[in-house]
């Protein structure tokens, strides 16, 4: 096993934030579902099931958009801040193993965060109104998005010496991507009701999954949209990891 990955997981789960963040996320999600449950009262359970699925989709995306870049952002900048980075870089461990260990640990933490909401999301199946394929698609999309944003945070982390700066820039970058791609989409006439406009800017938008989920369109065109969305996110993730590798090979402090 990669020693950096082993060390990262050990450290992450020993730090207070390692278990506090999933706990707080689960508490917020549970409280919101409970409020929906109470407010629905006598109404039909189908509507409750689809509402829970939608609510999980929204809260999960917000949590992923904020916490995934943060997890990556602390991985290298945090080591610099604590004075552990140079001993690690000057040790005989290969630079690609450092990059791979940090990236895998960040990705696994994001997946842990996602898995916390599984029992709550499963309630939507219990009440009906959401099917397994839709929920599976939701988790797959958010997993790809979370890992991508964690890698983006890791790339930002190689540049800055302060965790807070890296955190602000990476979360800001993730949110900036939403605004920037939506602005290009709008400039190309994308928000007008007539069709025929290019949708490619939105493939890079982290909220694109909402358009697909809540658009209610599950035809072949929508499936191609999913595919392009995954490819676009994947390209950001791969590009970020390549950037991390390049920075570590070059070196430095």
């Amino acid at each position: 096993m990669n020693p950096v990955l082993f060390k990262e997981l050990r450290s992450m789960l020993r730090e207070r934030r390692g278990f506090l963040v999933p706990m707080i996320y689960a508490a917020v999600l549970s409280a919101t579902v409970y409020l929906f449950f109470v407010s629905f009262g006598e109404r039909e359970s189908d509507a409750l099931g689809s509402t829970i699925a939608g609510e999980v989709a929204i809260l999960q995306l917000i949590a992923i958009a904020i916490f995934s870049p943060l997890v990556g952002a602390g991985a290298i900048a945090g080591e610099r801040e604590r004075g552990t980075w140079l001993p690690l870089l000057s040790s005989p461990v290969a630079r690609w193993r450092i990059a791979a260990g940090k990236a895998t640990a960040s990705a696994l933490y994001v997946l842990l965060l996602l898995s916390v909401s599984v029992p709550i999301a499963a309630l939507s199946l219990l009440f009906g109104g959401a099917d397994l394929a839709v929920l599976g698609g939701l988790y797959l999309t958010h997993a790809i998005l979370g890992v991508t944003l964690a890698l983006f945070g890791l790339a930002v982390s190689t540049i800055f010496h302060r965790t807070w700066t890296a955190a602000l820039v990476s979360v800001g970058g993730a949110l900036g991507l939403v605004v920037f791609t939506a602005a290009i989409y709008a400039a190309l006439g994308g928000f007008h009701s007539e069709g025929g406009h290019p949708t490619w800017p939105m493939y890079f938008n982290i909220c694109y999954s909402w358009m697909l989920f809540f658009g209610g369109d599950h035809d072949a065109g929508s499936r191609i949209g999913w595919l392009w969305h995954f490819l676009a996110l994947g390209s950001i993730g791969v590009g970020s990891f390549a950037f991390v590798l390049r920075r570590l090979r070059r070196t430095c402090d």
Binding site: P3, V4, F6, K7, R10, S11, R14, E15, R82, G83, T84, L86, P87, L88, L89, S90, S91, P92, V93, A94, R250, T251, C252, D253
Partner: protein
């Protein structure tokens, strides 16, 4: 073992951080690296440790080029950066285990090396204690042992005693001497000159990125303080031309004169001063210490207009 050849580096075009620095650290010896803040010591050490790519020159460690074979250099070298901290969330044994795994030490050998390192750091009874509960001195000793866990043949230690109490300093310096006795090449930097003097076999003085020539003093050439009644600046110019003099530095009305190698008696210098019409009031030997040497080198460098202030 550690060879630095014409090493040059600059972070931007405006300022050269290292200017054609050259020296060698032999196996079984300790070389001290001293200089004012900003002299380029940390940059030099990072270039040796493959943490930055120098703009010119070459560094080899155990025959491996630091730019072309960085991974081999990192296997041959242990680097303890300034203000290095062990992983606070791990235990002492886990911290050492991480660096042993990172270096590819086999599982069979790992346990023995970790036990030995804990023993040498004085942490045998605190094997499973979290690093965050250790004192600063113990953390530094643990960091030093982590640097040694893969059995490097050369060591680069940047201010290893920084922030330690006198007892811990003594222990760290004693372990450094011991490492050299065991055949390792050690390069150590410190702002505490008495520490360098106590532990080092050779000294490299770096000022404004240039290695300063301190050879006559460092090799124990005799040094004298000559006091004159007046015209010390004229006398300095005259004395500096004498063949028996290796170096001269003026301090107020006194001249600090270092005799050339092979010249033991300052009589010829005193006679030349008197013959030139100066009134010599005192001539006394100066005990040569690294602090004196360093002070003179900095003063000479400042007189030439390229000196930095000693810290």
């Amino acid at each position: 073992m550690i060879n630095v050849e014409s090493l040059s580096h600059s972070y931007d075009r405006a300022r050269t951080v290292l200017d054609a620095v050259a020296f060698e650290v032999r196996a079984g010896s300790v070389t001290g690296l001293v200089g004012p803040n900003g002299a380029g010591k940390t940059t030099l050490m990072r270039a040796i440790a493959t943490l930055l790519r120098p703009r010119g020159g070459r560094v080899t460690v155990d025959g491996h080029d630091a730019v072309r074979e960085p991974e081999r250099v990192r296997r041959a070298l242990g680097f303890l950066p300034e203000r290095a901290t062990p992983y606070l969330e791990l235990t002492c044994a886990e911290h050492l285990e991480f660096f042993a795994r990172a270096a590819g030490v086999t599982a069979a050998e790992r346990a023995a090396r970790i036990s030995r390192a804990l023993e040498q750091a004085g942490l045998r009874d605190r094997r499973d204690a979290p690093v965050k509960h250790l004192s600063k001195g113990l953390r530094q000793r643990l960091a030093l042992q982590a640097t040694l866990i893969h059995g490097p043949r050369a060591l680069v230690l940047d201010e290893p005693t920084d922030g330690l109490d006198p007892e811990s300093r003594g222990e760290v310096l004693a372990s450094i001497r011991e490492l050299a006795r065991n055949g390792r090449a050690v390069l150590i930097s410190s702002h505490v000159l008495s520490e360098i003097e106590a532990v080092a076999d050779d000294v490299v003085i770096l000022i404004d990125g240039k290695r300063q020539d301190a050879a006559p003093q460092a090799k124990g050439a005799p040094e004298f303080r000559i006091r004159l009644r007046d015209r010390a600046d004229e006398a300095e110019r005259m004395v500096s031309t004498l063949p028996a003099v290796a170096a001269v530095v003026r301090k107020n009305d006194a001249l600090l004169v270092t005799l050339a190698i092979g010249v033991a008696d300052p009589g010829d210098v005193a006679a030349a001063i008197v013959r030139a019409g100066f009134v010599l009031t005192t001539l006394e030997p100066v005990e040569t210490t690294l602090a004196n040497t360093y002070r003179d080198v900095v003063a000479r460098s400042r007189n030439r207009g390229n000196g930095g202030l000693p810290s």
